[in-house]
Symmetry: C2
């Protein structure tokens, strides 16, 4: 190798500007870190793009920047999150994800050991999901112009024939389901930041949902109308988006929304409403009413849908409100979040 | 609209953390800025992914982060650059680019007027290239944790049947061409940063090269072996990469490498070697020798290839050296760049 003279010190070295310069130092970083971990033939060809065969049909593409702070958190890290976040956005069209691309923006001074750990975690998540990172890019910015590492991932996938899932397809009468307990990710991050001890550990739910989605699509290929992962802004925001896009109202039942006791307790301490707290391994599904039980059973049979619940119904509403029937029998409007209670949660 | 109450002040407003929060402020930013400028039906559906039809065949995907400083420079801005940079990487496989995805990482405090101008420029570049931005993502980081705006774009395209262009396909005897004068982009940026006045204005060559590539592919579909855009690290780095990937040597003739007189003069003042200075609208082509004249004529007939030149030859060399015959008749090795002379040039 022409650049074997430059050895990357993955134990005590740091990212410097030359790692983004296109020269030997960058080639070394790519070889010794990215290609080592991601380890696939497309990436190994070292082209500025990856070329692969696709069948004729509908392709889904999604991109997501990840700027979470801290980089390592209970239940995950920015690397695994960058895989899960984008795969989930691809899967929310009903698509089977195929490949990932990754763009790294590194801050000068980042410990190479941290980057190594992040990329290893990212590679493990990509491998577990069966979606290799086949192309990428690395840039370095000066100290104080970034924050360790930002990762923007893009995923492509194939939408099965006959599947038509989109945020504007909800209609009055449809059922609303959620795949599990809400608020885990945001609370895990906030607890980490605030250095809170809750006696019991809350971990992020960061997970790739495309396997669950594939089972759901197989069970009711034409009856699923909308899928959305309630990340930033939480369940409340996802429901408001879907109501807005479809031009409908949604009514949910507070008693049916799964929230872990320790998440609820932590939210009280932190002054958060769990409905607005981010999730990274959950989905909202809106389906035709007569498919709801089938889908609920399918979800219950998948490890990531064990706590799935039918939480409400789509209604006609010219205001496109999301309303919640409370535990006390009343109804309140679940509004869009106004400000930002949890910056850099993903 | 449920979020019409929030008005974005594009004249004197600034990005704040709520614009990345997933709530009303973010929805407003997406509506009033991104959807307004990018203006296409896929984006307007406001899903977290875009779904489109593709023919069976080979898909090319490339991703590129853009962190250039300053955001606005002679001949372009980060918005147009983020379109050109990624389209070019897709096109260097011989592919016809179809669609773009864009991930924005905004710094709190960025003037919305600047963002508006950048997104407008990006949309104009995407429209001119016929490659709409169909999906995207926006994140906001706190003041001092970013630098205005970083844009990571991802492009997908279709590789025509029979075309096989990659960095590892150069063979001894092949010809080496460059599509035009080198060093313009890097010198324009550096001159802007250093506030230098050169009497004559040097502007970035930032441009989308897929039209030029399409003409070249049509002229010699199976004879083009490698294409690469010499961005970071310049022509010297691109040639070294290709030599390394293909396991060959390359010999170029200094007299045949087009460099504008004012770029050469500026490089002398700035202490730069133009061979290592970034380009954003040029390509290196390695082709079978008997196709070189045909391709050169094709390039000369395209506005972005008017100054194209056959600059050298691929040779057998176990060291994979790039060598240059100098104007004085000698030969010197054109090595990989060691450090980083122009940080954040793209």
């Amino acid at each position: 190798m022409a650049h074997s003279a430059y050895n990357l010190n993955l134990t005590s070295g740091q990212v410097d500007l030359s790692h983004g310069g296109g020269g030997r130092a960058m080639a070394q970083l790519i070889d010794a870190l990215f290609i080592k971990h991601f380890d696939n033939d497309l990436l190994k060809r070292r082209n500025d793009q990856a070329v692969f065969q696709v069948p004729a049909g509908r392709l889904a593409i999604s991109t997501d920047g990840h700027v979470i702070s801290p980089l390592f958190f209970p239940g995950g890290d920015i690397g695994a999150l960058a895989v899960h976040g984008t795969l989930n956005d691809v899967a929310m069209s009903g698509a089977r994800p195929l490949y990932l691309a990754a763009g790294f923006i590194l801050e000068e001074g980042l410990a190479l050991a941290d980057l190594d750990r992040i990329v290893a975690s990212m590679a493990a998540a990509a491998k577990a999901a069966g979606t290799p990172v086949v192309t990428g890019d690395t840039k370095v910015v000066e100290r104080g112009k970034g924050d360790g590492v930002f990762i923007t991932t893009t995923g492509v996938g194939i939408v099965p024939d006959g599947v038509d899932i989109a945020g504007d397809r909800a209609e009055p009468g449809c059922a609303v389901l959620v795949s599990g307990s809400i608020g885990d990710h945001g609370v895990a991050i906030m607890a980490g930041r605030e250095n809170l001890q809750f006696g019991t550990s809350i971990v992020s739910d960061s997970a790739a949902l495309h396997g669950l989605v594939a089972d759901m699509v197989a069970a009711a290929p034409t009856r699923i109308r909308c899928l959305r992962d309630p990340t930033r802004g939480g369940l409340a925001t996802a429901l408001n988006e879907l109501a807005e896009q479809s031009g409908v109202g949604i009514v949910v039942d507070e008693n049916r929304i799964p929230i872990k006791a320790q998440v609820r307790a932590a939210c009280e301490i932190l002054g958060l409403d769990p409905l607005y707290v981010a999730n990274e391994g959950k989905l909202v599904c809106i389906c035709e009413a007569d498919a709801a039980e089938t889908l609920l059973n399918t979800m219950h049979n998948h490890p990531l849908g064990r706590d799935a619940s039918i939480i409400g119904t789509v209604v006609a509403d010219q205001h496109h409100f999301v309303q919640m029937t409370t535990g006390f029998g009343g109804r309140r409007i679940v509004d869009w979040p106004a400000g930002e209670q949890l910056p850099r949660i993903c």
